[in-house]
């Protein structure tokens, strides 16, 4: 379902206008950028309300930890684990044994 839209007339600097001119759908580009920014603002405002102090260093460390896991887990590894689990459980249904470890 498409949500209702409003037509706006806005003024932007030349460099932003040039970027928008390169987009196949400038409205979609702006919409996503606003939503991305809103999600960050929403999160930071909530942490400020709760009194949780975020640091750029801590965020960077968290990002590095996640990236390390992502590097160790390419898409194929996820798929392989799921497939092994399914095979293991199918065998278990046929054999009637309790599962040990498939992943």
């Amino acid at each position: 379902m498409t949500s209702p839209v409003r037509k706006l007339s806005i003024s932007v600097p030349q460099d932003v206008a040039a970027t928008l001119a390169e987009q196949p759908n400038a409205s979609a580009y702006i919409t996503q950028a606003v939503r991305d920014r809103r999600a960050v603002d929403q999160f930071r405002a909530e942490q400020a309300r709760r009194g949780v102090q975020l640091t750029e260093e801590g965020m960077a460390e968290a990002r590095a930890r996640r990236r390390r896991v992502e590097a160790e887990w390419p898409a194929e590894r996820y798929d392989a684990v799921r497939e092994r689990v399914r095979e293991h459980m199918q065998d278990d249904l046929v054999g009637g044994d309790r599962p040990a470890s498939a992943a």
């Binding site: 999160f43 942490q47 949780v52 460390e61 968290a62 459980m89 599962p99």
Partner: protein, 134 residues
């Protein structure tokens, strides 16, 4: 699918991560924040939400959980009926249904699990787990 829903879920919070977030742990909050800043989403399974709400009695914490779940970047994740066989496997590994749904969601979305209970997900390297310090 809305554009927000097209953003990938790259981090799944389990019950321990949700409770740590509500307690104000920086080790739970910053990983969520960096995912949002990377224009991605974090997920919590519906079963995990139910488990967390069963444990959280403080009205402020319950409100904080509701606010977290309402964030644009939060995806409350379903566990599908047809996946019962896989679910029962992970229930066997983790000994808990909420952890089983978290493991399945992580595999489905190719995401990492944020947890303080990493040992419950099986041996090291068994699943894509990010351990939070105590």
């Amino acid at each position: 699918m809305t554009p927000d829903e097209e953003r990938p879920v790259t981090l799944v919070l389990d019950r321990s991560a949700v409770l740590a977030y509500l307690a104000g742990s920086i080790h739970a909050t910053e990983p969520v924040g960096e995912v949002i800043e990377d224009r991605q989403r974090f997920g919590i399974t519906a079963v995990t939400v139910a488990e967390a709400l069963a444990l959280v009695t403080n009205p402020k914490d319950r409100e904080d959980l509701h606010v977290l779940l309402r964030m644009d970047a939060c995806a409350v994740l379903s566990t599908w009926g047809e996946d019962w066989l896989e679910l029962s496997y992970w229930r066997g590994v983790t000994s808990r249904a909420d952890l089983a749904t978290t493991a399945m969601a992580a595999l489905e979305h190719r995401a990492s699990i944020l947890t303080r209970e990493g040992a419950l997900y099986g041996t090291d390297g068994h699943l894509p787990v990010i351990y939070m310090p105590q």
